[in-house]
Symmetry: D2
Subunit: 427 residues, 4 copies
Amino acid sequence: MYRSILRTSARQLASSARPAAVRGYAAHSAPDPFNWQDPLNTQSLFTEEELAIQETAEAYCQERMLPRVLQAYRDENYDKKILEEMGELGLLGATIKGYGCAGVSSVASGLITKAVERVDSGYRSGMSVQSSLAMGGIDEFGTAEQKEKFLPLMAQGKLLGAFGLTEPNHGSDPGSMETVAKPHPTKKGYVSISGAKTWITNSPIADVLLVWAKYSETGKIKGFLVERKDCPPGTLETPAIKNKNGLRASLTGMIQLDECPVPLENMFPDVEGLRGPFTCLNGARYGIAWGMTGALEDCIARARTYALERKQFKGNPLAKYQLIQKKLADAVTDAAYGTVAAIQVGRLKDEGKATPEMISMIKRQNCDRALHNARVLQEIFGGNAVSDEYGIGRHVANLFVTQTYEGQSDIHSLILGRAITGIQAFA
Amino acid sequence: MYRSILRTSARQLASSARPAAVRGYAAHSAPDPFNWQDPLNTQSLFTEEELAIQETAEAYCQERMLPRVLQAYRDENYDKKILEEMGELGLLGATIKGYGCAGVSSVASGLITKAVERVDSGYRSGMSVQSSLAMGGIDEFGTAEQKEKFLPLMAQGKLLGAFGLTEPNHGSDPGSMETVAKPHPTKKGYVSISGAKTWITNSPIADVLLVWAKYSETGKIKGFLVERKDCPPGTLETPAIKNKNGLRASLTGMIQLDECPVPLENMFPDVEGLRGPFTCLNGARYGIAWGMTGALEDCIARARTYALERKQFKGNPLAKYQLIQKKLADAVTDAAYGTVAAIQVGRLKDEGKATPEMISMIKRQNCDRALHNARVLQEIFGGNAVSDEYGIGRHVANLFVTQTYEGQSDIHSLILGRAITGIQAFA
Amino acid sequence: MYRSILRTSARQLASSARPAAVRGYAAHSAPDPFNWQDPLNTQSLFTEEELAIQETAEAYCQERMLPRVLQAYRDENYDKKILEEMGELGLLGATIKGYGCAGVSSVASGLITKAVERVDSGYRSGMSVQSSLAMGGIDEFGTAEQKEKFLPLMAQGKLLGAFGLTEPNHGSDPGSMETVAKPHPTKKGYVSISGAKTWITNSPIADVLLVWAKYSETGKIKGFLVERKDCPPGTLETPAIKNKNGLRASLTGMIQLDECPVPLENMFPDVEGLRGPFTCLNGARYGIAWGMTGALEDCIARARTYALERKQFKGNPLAKYQLIQKKLADAVTDAAYGTVAAIQVGRLKDEGKATPEMISMIKRQNCDRALHNARVLQEIFGGNAVSDEYGIGRHVANLFVTQTYEGQSDIHSLILGRAITGIQAFA
Amino acid sequence: MYRSILRTSARQLASSARPAAVRGYAAHSAPDPFNWQDPLNTQSLFTEEELAIQETAEAYCQERMLPRVLQAYRDENYDKKILEEMGELGLLGATIKGYGCAGVSSVASGLITKAVERVDSGYRSGMSVQSSLAMGGIDEFGTAEQKEKFLPLMAQGKLLGAFGLTEPNHGSDPGSMETVAKPHPTKKGYVSISGAKTWITNSPIADVLLVWAKYSETGKIKGFLVERKDCPPGTLETPAIKNKNGLRASLTGMIQLDECPVPLENMFPDVEGLRGPFTCLNGARYGIAWGMTGALEDCIARARTYALERKQFKGNPLAKYQLIQKKLADAVTDAAYGTVAAIQVGRLKDEGKATPEMISMIKRQNCDRALHNARVLQEIFGGNAVSDEYGIGRHVANLFVTQTYEGQSDIHSLILGRAITGIQAFA
């Protein structure tokens, strides 16, 4: 049902002009009243197609995802059917053109991401891995055969991907990776991959794992599509990591490769070095910047409702107190600013003008501000915040993780610092 | 010289499309490298007209204003010729249509404001009073005769305005004002105004003072254009306030009215209550939000230069240190976010969609972040920061004042809080 | 074993002078090197007795408590044997004189609290309820009979207490409580209590519940000792609250009273109004201020170890990076300041000079700083922070709760604000 | 007059016990009410001698210094008679034993410093240079002859000192200094010193300048007492630096030495390397930590008075608003914490147990918190803050400078970081 809306709108509106295009500054009708849910009226910046996609995504997330998340988070459980449902709606790999993907704008994909993360950052992580890291990598660097083979099934959510870059000892410094791909000693046209990757979202359920390894023939990092079904027993293990402090509604695991044979035709042909994984991460980080605004907006909505309903001291709602209003005002402001910045980068992305540093900037800032404000808003709930039923504690725990992955905030500070000063200060 | 550029470009480009209009998201050329002076590439959002105005304004400010500011600040002196020079370039009341004004977009006027405040917030204050508060008020609420009489000379900077709202005992609460306008006991068709206004930018040099007073006939606040040249001796005094901690390159004074006769034809005809002054303030606050990004960008540029040139510990430039890079990254991010937010509100303003709360949001946030970051950047200068020649101490002192005037930050927090919750918490 | 040390030292050292007493400022030997675990050398401020108690408590907590906490937290499980063990060591109700209690100084009891919270805030909560809220209340307000009946068994941890003040709708405003005690309609010398209390630590396992209720005869709040064993079926329920975001190693529940008969001899005789519960809370809050420094110090130690062991970028330990060092320096400073402030209030407490506002100050500040720094230190762990095995995520989650209970930080701000200005701003 | 009190009390009370010595924790009288001016009742920690010194110093500062500061700050003028007055009261070099100095405790000297900085950080700077840097250096490292020659006159404020360490290009890194002392080519028993020092408090009026220079014979840094009266024309210049952003009530200048002949008997005999100047700085930094609490307390008192007197919105004083109360509560808390920490380090100092890192800690933290809170309190004054008559803007400007001199905060962070981790991260 949702899919048809999306696909139809995608077709019909492919050439629709951005509304801003027709703006003039002559009109002086009375403005709409201030809308705390969209304080800077960013809705006016979206195309009709984008608005339709937003509506589809929000409806699905609120109606189908939201009811599952509390229990999933408690149980550290991920319902992989979610990816299939998203696939049916055309929400996976949505910016990719062809291969059954929707081919929408970067802003539209941001709106999808935001809708998902409004529910839970874990669900967004599961989607990011599929859409940005795995499908995005194949679309950007894969051969025509690789694309044809994997993308259509992945777009439907029937083939699940994972992305193996981070290693146990090299979190922020992937260039030091130890995983290695050597010519297979016995199978011609194959490499043999050995090594370990950790904190890999969806690894326990992934069908195809994009693994980055040092290729012994060149000493350079290359990307390999490891298909679980083809791995001999004992060469690929993907144990789940349990007892997480956050993102408990997503699956996290390791990838352990022990002389795992992978055909050379599953290697990305041209890209080498860190450019490959960093390009994929860039796409994911762009999505995170959008997602943060969704998570923060949900915290705002929950805190606002609580503040209006909860009465203390002579029956006044908490919302009447200055200290409460300031918390809300700060959060609403940061959500609005984060949104306009993400839109701007999205537009530039589609014009080919977005740089990695821009994405570092919005990933870092939107994560930092979402986390900070979510924590402050959580204070509004007082002692009740400790109950998981209010949802905000879950967001706070999730947002801490999103601040640390795909570039911890300090690392992005130093990326920006390098871009500003021309001097690198990592080591 | 500048004027002709501006006026010409204004005419030629009046119908120019906003560049964003022609954006598609298909192109994939290599992006321009990251530009720390415009990290989110907002230049791509401006029309050719806006770019030309920006160039004119920046050139004037850097070449003509900047050389004067250090001494002016030391001496608490304001060179009123600046307004005349700005008038020649068409920079005053620039969004007003007709009356010799340039009639440019709200974004263009924001760019002018930013250029001025990049030099000094005091100079921007002097301009805001003329453009937004005095001319803006007359344009919005004046009679045809009032407009014809005042606006053309004011646009040329030959007639200087001031705006008298704040009273000594009612800073954040103008509704309690004590200044009163009563029918003049002897002069028919005149009112007699008595009361005192304080912290009035440009009052000591203003030719026409827009004074808000309670009109005894209705008990409502009304606006009056008090012309200095027509005031009998002793009925109007505008003593300067000296020994200020900041904004020392702007003139500040009081307005003391003692049974000052003002003709009723100098009263705004229709507007009454706080809507009048608040509309003017809204325009000024919008400008401040823009100006803040200029002041902050100047702090960034100064701090970056210092950090690159200053060597400590084994000859490393300060810019190599992580703690320094983080300060720069934070400031650059806030400047970029503040800019995209201001652009968005500017576009909405011209579409008639901007609300006062939006302007509260960007005034508050951009002031707060400019002040915060300027202070942090000042730390980079170490002991040398105490010298006024580095300029950053002046910005820090100025920015504190901008945070407190035209709505102290906490007041804007409560305005936003009220908009978010529906409950007012002022008292 | 520990008990004998404690009890012996308590006896032997009862009259020992505080070391500071013999200080002169003549000596100029070389100072001990800086100790990051006690940067302001507070050990020099403790008596020998206090040092012995500290040693006993730290040994027990590190050796006996610490190994249990990870699993307990995962399972939301509390081992009530802990209280019995603590009782054996003389750690419960330690400042109470007589009734088998140790009768130690307030600083000594702070050191016990700190040792426990170094392991887990949940364990400290379990102890605070027993020692400060339940035993403290009985010792302060109980009749001689009540003290004799309850305190000795409670000191041994064989009779468990709870403290029922907070109600579902009146978290920060206990004066509005709805729980009521009326003369029992049929049982002479009894009251009948009805109402509900929530967020009650230990309620599911408590044997005696100190319940505050409005006494219908006077309309004033009075304290009642409700003994579970004497409650007819259906009159007392204490269901556990599960799925908490923090303090998962402590038990939390409700107290539901439905016409529960309680003998009048179990009522505190003299105290009425909020003075009763507030006095108990004061004692607990004093302990929290101490406990916070323990939790924070544990976060520091864990983060420091991680930063020294974890290598990134050319094999440098994280500890070499400026951004990491600053996080550690900030946290160590706040822990040291919090400790000297808590010591000072402890000394004043024993001199009868501590005011409730002082305790608001150290409760608020030490909670706020512990929480803030714990969160910042957690960033050092990067992606690994999501694993509960590093322990810091548990502290972060706990510390948020401690900030909100027994006076949310904003409430304490307003208590302080009232004390500073003489004006109350709650409503 | 004051002097006799001080000198008498110093004699009479030399052996007085610290009040804390007689504390027991049995007493339970009603506590004194909360005192916002000393929230943690630190007065109870002082000896009678210390209380007497405090009274003397506060009386002098409030009665004699305070009336001069506003004009001095406006004019960048320093009344050198202040040092003579302080000398008469025995406030200079107060911890030094003998040579006409008072020989009081480190806490007593802290109380003097606090009293002075409550008025103005510039006045405190002028005193710190005389007492801690110049006299402290001579007392610690000088020969018997040097002490006899200089200290008595300096204690009387009749001979003024300065301390020349910082050079234009080596602010935070004095080890790279360029000033050099070579054997004088013609005058036997003399060195010839050449080089430049900058940001030297009191240099324009100093009679004796303690200059640190690299001694060409050893390549090590040595200290030289340069007596202005003995310098041939052209060999010593001490031009004032004007137009400062802060500390305008203190004199700042350069020291320019051009082959200046200095007798070897004016060299400190034993100390070499950075240990010499760092020891002096340590003493000064200890004083700054105390002084900060004085400046902050003055900001609190001024803001509180303003908040109680200023009415807005229905005639409510600002003090009634939650956002105002929180600012006051935060500041009061930080002032109280800073005070107890400074007392603790003072006591340890006199016991020979204070380490340089402790002093880095309290210098950094007390400066940072004083500056932060002063800025926040300044917001309470709204637009009026721009007037220098409220005094708080002067403190804010001063406190920024104190944060950057004698070890900028980031440098102290890294000193602490090194002490915590064992790894240095300066370069």
